[in-house]
């Protein structure tokens, strides 16, 4: 953790209509990772998300209209890259992700054990127990979607991932420059992993503890889930035939 004080870190939080929870998430990050700057990417919220975030002491990048999670995350990576941060991390704005776990992900990238670290709620913690099944109970559709993606992503990257749609990640500058240019607005989570692995970046999963949602509901309805999975499969299929080395630095 000492290194975090010397090197600059940005923690960004994509938020869409999360006025009820965003303040608490920011406070959590400020307590657990005091050395990091906090940026809230307000994805065209219609409520007071941006105001709550500013009151809580975060910087706010407000997209003029809702662009989807992928575009919001890319905005965060772009900000981190341009402002010259050494490391960045992001977590969900609904209170599912404890900042203490984000700090653990950051330690991995700061120690240069990986370029991109994902927080996984499924991967075993090593002691044989599934990662905190008591804290986090995924819905059926979520579980099916997750296993479908897990299978195809493993096929595409030849690396085992358990929590493919995890919205808790930490990254270094190599990942920032890759993601700020090449990030599918439609299917951020999966394609970004595939992209990073294909670029030869070290992607690592770390088991984390996640909580039940504090406020709001998941955006996944059955129909949307089906559409989501369909889009994901197309993205993975196309990604397999993309040229392997894209220009990373502009």
């Amino acid at each position: 953790m000492g290194e975090l004080l010397v090197l600059s870190t940005l923690v960004f939080i994509p938020a869409w209509n999360e006025e009820a929870s965003v303040g608490a998430v920011i406070a959590d990050v400020q307590t657990q990772i005091p050395s990091a700057d906090v940026l809230v990417v307000d994805d065209g919220s219609l409520d007071a998300t941006a105001e709550r975030a500013r009151e809580a002491g975060a910087r706010v990048a407000s997209l003029p209209f809702n662009q989807g999670l992928g575009a919001a995350l890319q905005t965060g990576y772009l900000y981190a890259l341009r402002q010259g941060y050494d490391f960045c991390a992001h977590l969900d704005s609904d209170g599912q992700h404890p900042a203490s776990e984000v700090a653990r992900l950051l330690e991995e990238v700061v120690a240069d054990r990986a370029d991109l670290v994902l927080g996984s709620r499924y991967r075993d913690k090593g002691d044989g127990e599934p990662a905190d099944g008591d804290d986090y109970k995924p819905t059926i559709s979520r579980r099916i979607g997750t296993s479908v993606f897990r299978f195809f992503l493993t096929l595409a990257t030849r690396q085992r991932f358990t929590d493919t749609t995890s919205g808790m990640r930490a990254a270094n500058r190599r990942v920032m420059s890759l993601f700020s240019e090449n990030y599918s607005p439609d299917f951020a989570e999966i394609e970004s992993l595939q992209l990073a692995v294909r670029q030869g970046l070290r992607v690592e999963e770390v088991p984390v503890r996640m909580l039940e949602r504090v406020e709001g509901t998941s955006f996944l309805t059955p129909l949307r889930s089906a559409f989501f999975i369909f889009k994901g499969l197309i993205v993975l299929l196309v990604g397999m035939f993309r040229p392997r080395s894209v220009e990373v630095e502009r």
Partner: protein
């Protein structure tokens, strides 16, 4: 070359003079509509070319209806109607795909534009200080140096 083929071909397609005049008028009206849309800034020139080509095609079809049977022969289709419909259908399909491509590109451009604006604002207006006031000048200077770097 095509004129020779035209003479050689059986006159499978026969339209009355009335129909041909009507078709020609429709084609001309269509092209006038395109011009009017451009004049009123509702259509950009670069997207009008394809519609002019379509208008010219309609005009040619009205002037030389025998041409269609030549095309049908080349395609190996016995029924000229089938030839006409399949050509039109394929062209429209291609056009619709072309528009999806243009739309996707513009969606990506709009996203990047939105991101740039959001970043610009985030740089200039930092977090509120403890009194709830926006911090002053230094943010603006920082934004300038950052934008020159990017």
């Amino acid at each position: 070359m095509s004129a020779l083929l035209l003479l050689a071909a059986e006159p499978k397609v026969s339209l009355t003079a009335q129909t041909r005049i009507l078709a020609a008028i429709l084609a001309l009206a269509f092209m006038l509509l395109i011009l009017e849309l451009i004049r009123r800034d509702k259509l950009q020139e670069r997207y009008s070319v394809v519609w002019f080509v379509a208008g010219v095609g309609m005009l040619v079809g009205a002037a030389f209806p025998g041409l269609l049977s030549v095309v049908a022969d080349v395609m190996g289709v016995r029924d000229t109607n089938v030839a006409l419909f399949s050509i039109v259908l394929l062209l429209l399909l291609g056009l619709a795909l072309n528009f999806s491509v243009i739309m996707s590109r513009q969606a990506a451009q709009i996203t990047r534009l939105a991101q740039e604006r959001a970043l610009e604002k985030a740089r200039t207006q930092g977090p509120l200080d403890s009194n709830g006031n926006a911090p002053s000048a230094e943010g603006a200077g920082e934004a300038e140096s950052q934008s020159s770097r990017s």
